[in-house]
Symmetry: D2
Subunit: 482 residues, 4 copies
Amino acid sequence: MPIRTAAEYIESLRGRKLRVYLMGELVEEPVDHPIIRPSINAVADTYAMAEEDPELATATSKLTGQRVNRFLQVTQDANDVVMQNRMQRRLGQRTGTCFQRCVGMDAINSMYSVTYDIDQKHGTQYHTRFTDFVKHMQRENFVVGGAMTDPKGDRSKSPHEQADPDMFLRVVERRPDGVVLRGAKAHQTGCINSHWLLVMPTMRLGEGDKDYAICAAIPVDHPGISYIYGRQSCDTRAMEDTDIDNGNQRFGGQEAMIIFEDVFVPNSHVFMDGEYQFAATLVERFTGYHRRSYVCKTGLGDVIIGAAATIADYNGVAKASHIKDKLVEMTHLNETIYGAGIAASHESKPTAAGNYQCDEMLANVCKHNVTRFPYEISRLAQDLAGGLMVTLPADADFKNEKTKPLLEKYLAGRPGVSVDNRRRVLRLIENMTMGRNAVGYLTESMHGAGSPQAQRVQITRLSDMEGKKRLAKNLAGVKDEE
Amino acid sequence: MPIRTAAEYIESLRGRKLRVYLMGELVEEPVDHPIIRPSINAVADTYAMAEEDPELATATSKLTGQRVNRFLQVTQDANDVVMQNRMQRRLGQRTGTCFQRCVGMDAINSMYSVTYDIDQKHGTQYHTRFTDFVKHMQRENFVVGGAMTDPKGDRSKSPHEQADPDMFLRVVERRPDGVVLRGAKAHQTGCINSHWLLVMPTMRLGEGDKDYAICAAIPVDHPGISYIYGRQSCDTRAMEDTDIDNGNQRFGGQEAMIIFEDVFVPNSHVFMDGEYQFAATLVERFTGYHRRSYVCKTGLGDVIIGAAATIADYNGVAKASHIKDKLVEMTHLNETIYGAGIAASHESKPTAAGNYQCDEMLANVCKHNVTRFPYEISRLAQDLAGGLMVTLPADADFKNEKTKPLLEKYLAGRPGVSVDNRRRVLRLIENMTMGRNAVGYLTESMHGAGSPQAQRVQITRLSDMEGKKRLAKNLAGVKDEE
Amino acid sequence: MPIRTAAEYIESLRGRKLRVYLMGELVEEPVDHPIIRPSINAVADTYAMAEEDPELATATSKLTGQRVNRFLQVTQDANDVVMQNRMQRRLGQRTGTCFQRCVGMDAINSMYSVTYDIDQKHGTQYHTRFTDFVKHMQRENFVVGGAMTDPKGDRSKSPHEQADPDMFLRVVERRPDGVVLRGAKAHQTGCINSHWLLVMPTMRLGEGDKDYAICAAIPVDHPGISYIYGRQSCDTRAMEDTDIDNGNQRFGGQEAMIIFEDVFVPNSHVFMDGEYQFAATLVERFTGYHRRSYVCKTGLGDVIIGAAATIADYNGVAKASHIKDKLVEMTHLNETIYGAGIAASHESKPTAAGNYQCDEMLANVCKHNVTRFPYEISRLAQDLAGGLMVTLPADADFKNEKTKPLLEKYLAGRPGVSVDNRRRVLRLIENMTMGRNAVGYLTESMHGAGSPQAQRVQITRLSDMEGKKRLAKNLAGVKDEE
Amino acid sequence: MPIRTAAEYIESLRGRKLRVYLMGELVEEPVDHPIIRPSINAVADTYAMAEEDPELATATSKLTGQRVNRFLQVTQDANDVVMQNRMQRRLGQRTGTCFQRCVGMDAINSMYSVTYDIDQKHGTQYHTRFTDFVKHMQRENFVVGGAMTDPKGDRSKSPHEQADPDMFLRVVERRPDGVVLRGAKAHQTGCINSHWLLVMPTMRLGEGDKDYAICAAIPVDHPGISYIYGRQSCDTRAMEDTDIDNGNQRFGGQEAMIIFEDVFVPNSHVFMDGEYQFAATLVERFTGYHRRSYVCKTGLGDVIIGAAATIADYNGVAKASHIKDKLVEMTHLNETIYGAGIAASHESKPTAAGNYQCDEMLANVCKHNVTRFPYEISRLAQDLAGGLMVTLPADADFKNEKTKPLLEKYLAGRPGVSVDNRRRVLRLIENMTMGRNAVGYLTESMHGAGSPQAQRVQITRLSDMEGKKRLAKNLAGVKDEE
């Protein structure tokens, strides 16, 4: 029976005996760990929204004929691609953080077309296998995490040239019924809260790298896998007895390193094995989708703009022209990101496999703006927040009977605004600009789906500079060039 | 018989006895004036492209059932709105200037829906009249210029409060068969090269401003109209004996002041008369379309990026990493504009009248970026051009027998690049960043379709700040607000 | 006997029985509290540097004829003002944080001239009293904290109009031998680690605000004072068993709220009492000095640029042109801040009292750039750091015997770089861009010495716009204006 | 008898029989040519100011004991260097253009120390010769133009490797009494309006380039020299019968190519000949001074800010908050340039020869900001100007009896502002952002004294990145690095 509700989803994660390390300790039950739980809640909201707003967060799958969670949908037209963006923005608004389910969505869509292309070239059966896998996920309504980024070791060397051959995930053994994998995936956003992982190569591979050209699906609770949880700014506030100082009590992101110690994968779940020429294609299609998926950050932008507007209200300065001007600037930047992203989706074209792939130039432009504008939006939010955001005492001081009356006396602002509400909004801005969700709103905006230079390389490649030169030469009347 | 070709279009403008003043003189025949001709050539290219690429530059009109120039099409679906943008970018690439036909296109589409709405409210017959007018334009393939901006006088006063009541175009007499108009329209892009003018109010009007609530179509060669041509940077180079120093010899823009001295308009060409409540609606719909029409500047951007890349080639520095980095930055900014614009078009929704209106937020965001990025692109182009762009002697010095050999000796660059071609490309960059087409690429990017602050006002209005505050308060856990 | 060394300074803070609240608890001994200690270490470094580099960090006082710590020097010429900036940058480089002693330095210098001016006007004796106080501080080599920012309550109301009259520090009783003060000072950078506090009004006062026009010196350990410590991003990492995850183990900043519950100050330590007309003068002089004191952030900038360059080395990408380009951009921005700051100091002019006051325009320009460029420098540092900065597991995971070998295997980078050193540098960048010292490097850069809009108001006031208009009109040939 | 007044200076230029080509023709008398005259007027203003404000624009020379024009002063202390900047800003305010005399000033000061250093190393007598030359200039109060930039030909090759050996100025013959020079200098700002030229190498030279390692003084009217005048945007408006359309009727810049056809220079005027190792030193010292000399652009900035403020007044919108905000932004950017420049001068240090050399890092930072901020200031000025700046008819239309009343009627703004004054200010903004003086305010700001990348190279070189890394490693606790 498929998972239907947020509660069912959370229940589905319990008791899986995952080997998760966090701050030096093996975690008993990740679902109940206060640092981990907010990231589970964020994914749970993708289920909640599917119930509350099915038009936005579900779609009818051609594969199964059933209504499925949109994160599991193979896009059937440009509108399906557009709707992903709308859903992403809305989830960003609801959670104020990275909800971690996009990597899987984008991996499904890029592997769908790449497996098709491999089969066409090599006569393999990956596409059918993969389609079966997707149907399974759709029927069970599972969360699929995409796992792409290898540790990479010495960046000047290709996978097979590394001193330690495990610096990229690889096939260490091929058996008649499947393959055995070893290696790791780093910076994995959302894995412990997934049901399945889709592993994929992280970059263009050469002929010597055949063992690294592996795509496969693996259950998250496979006994050969360990997870080491990455720490985040202010992470341990979740362990404190406060529902204010976290800023965003319910929702957070998750980053972990996944280690594969000789993990067996049956053939039915292998979707590329050795076809190294397709690694670059897969990466390009995936980053195409995924760079445009960063419109989710405009949902976070809506939250931070709203928080800045609220604190301006609370401070009694909402009508000052410079305050209004900063809010409109924040909005303009946020919508500029959205424009390029949604445009990339609207401009989708069908692949040979029949699903739809977004426009690569606009997707890169969207992501490149994401590496800039959230930082400026954050700066402006800190401007509006005022210095109190970083001088506010701990929630415990507001509970201590000596300091509580002093703080409430001296932190009183304009009439009708409670000190507690003021604190809550300030802590939310802190959370998004310096705290746990700054990881998602800022640093992950910088590096997720490729660091800025990666977009610049792609934009250059796509810029048709020779065509542009011809335009200029034509108008300038350039003559007789050899 | 409709106008079919660029040549026919140019011929159609001859002999119209227009009263055009330019640099203190009445122009004999505008078509043959070297300062005016490039702006006619630019419009002519909209005809040429319709022949060369009909899919892009024409559309099938539901009104006539015929294939019509896309500039005259009433948009029938979102794709029609998107296709306008594609055509605009391509024309920007072909001409490197403002091709001046968009105002009419956007006026047609906004008046189409507004006349419908007025009729619904007031029981008038404007929509039918207007539809007949559009059919006429489509059948003859005429150029329609939109005329909106009034001189405005004292900006702190409404039209009817002005010391001189003519500071906004107005009805000075109502006759049974029509109305008599007096006043002026300033900053008119493309009028002398049009066949018809569509006059429209320029801003929200109040009850006292009824005589200013006038929309009407008037032939450009109406005897009551005078045109005073605006001068542009480097305009008189067009009078010199050179095909190099102009930078863009063939194409240019046109700005004029139009003066209406008691111009009679028959009722059949009156599309609003006194319904002041609809003035703001019309302005908003028009600026919605028109702010997104500024994706044309990405076509100019393609040219200037191409010119910068070409001069880098000629200078032998195209491989330097800082050069490549500047080119990718220019491209990124250019595509960011495009993203918001094309997104606004894709997100179009049907009006009550049945045509399609673009998304207003994204249209404003597009235009707001247009008030910034072309300046930065120009700055980078000047960086790549090098100082020679502003120290290069006149073309005449390259023809003078004494100086020609000296200049050719000392301005020689890397082998295989002629001094003349280098000059041509430098003059094109000068043309677009300081010369005649800088008017269109920069200043008009700033103020056309509303100055930056106008977009900020609209973005604020559309930002749903209360909704954003609710998002933030929800996540922050704000409680018990009154 | 004066305090001579860093160790003596730290010893001097012990056993003072301060009432300091931190995270809901009364702190036993602030000197030994792991969260507080780094801020004490930062001030201690001002003593260490005075020993190590006396030319830079000490000066010969005209008041005592002795060599004194430069933070206690009354500036005697422009060079003294310049040397403050040099010292500040160096301390920023040494500590990577706010070293908290500038407020007192700037307060001493502004009060020195303002007390003189009050005496001239009112025949009071404040200047002599204040000079005696400064001599005392110099002889003992005490740390003086300046305390200016009041809680302010409802910002639309002046001090005496507040519902609660204590929202600004005020005189509640005047006795023959002194005054009694009540109220609070918020956002106090460095107080628990000071010996004396100089309280000053925070803004322009009117006649009704006489009781708020109070300047006075008070010992930090006065029994009527309570301190409530502000929490900072990642503050509790200082409580963990790690010397890596803090990023900057030794140094940090300190912000607290100071509450004065009927604190008696003898007349000898009162330096303004009721001369409300001088409140604005004092604030302007103080902010003049203090906005230029933000060149300290260029010292922090040097650290973060160095950290970014180091991580690029460790990642093996230091030679990539885009990496070098980002480092030069960071440097350029950092030096731009320095230029305006040091220029403001060089352009100092003598006051009537004889000490030197910096140029106000350039000081404001310096600070205004400080509200922008550190954010961009941080963004670029995060770009160079890579995503690992926010996905790196906790130090404890590197000590756990199961995870240590896995992490060391998979986080190995280029040969010769240890995983531990890589972690240390990443944690330092995290510390400065999201962690504890981001408070000082970013948010405090935004709001300290006045938020951005405060500088814009001052720049406008100082811009001589009428003079600029005259320049333009002269060149334009404007005629016959009324 | 020395030149004393502006009028005497202009007279001194007459009748020199210079061979100046402009727009294909040999100019009869440059002093009387309407295109050239404004650039002569600008230099003349350096004489006028010396009379009007001798403290600012003159200095007492240690060489002669006399008061000399500050442009001819060998700096004797840091204050002399600072005073150059103050004078430059004031002249920028007075002329609104490049006044062209700084290159010579900076050349004198850099050659003064370099000739000294060459003599120390090689036992030559250049310094005495050069000092004599400077004394001569001071006594006669001549204008000295510095000539550095060679045409360069193929930029991938050094001077002696060029296909045409004349692409860099060189010694073609050495005689007992002097040397013969051949070649050209390009982009020469101010030469026809100078009395003497100081030629210098343009870049680092190698051993094979000895013949190119030449510094010498040559009279401007040497018969072997030809000048080809560079054209500027809107240059020919100076030929029209208008004192309005030029925007800045009196003042302009000048750029020309200078061609040396076997010019003999006596030994007394040769200051380097073959000491190729000192070419790089000379270039660095010169660019050090000259990059900081770009504070002149803050004087132009004052004019354009004033013009923008004036047009806002005229348009009746001066009190709008967004207008005020743009003016303060322009001011902030302008003063940021000034800060770095004046700081570079204040931080001057003595050379071995005894004159003072500015701080190189801050000088580069100053210039680098000059390649950015004037563009943004111009953009904002165009924003405030409104579209009329580029649609305004020609002055002749305001003189034509038909169009004059129409234009005056419809261009009337708020009461009390004449249309003519409005035009004058708009034309000034056009002049500085697109017209003749945009060459100086923008493009020359970009490329003069080295293009942006040249500053980035120097900033990198001066950044002490290794020192910064040590700071970071120290704070991060990096251990045991090899």
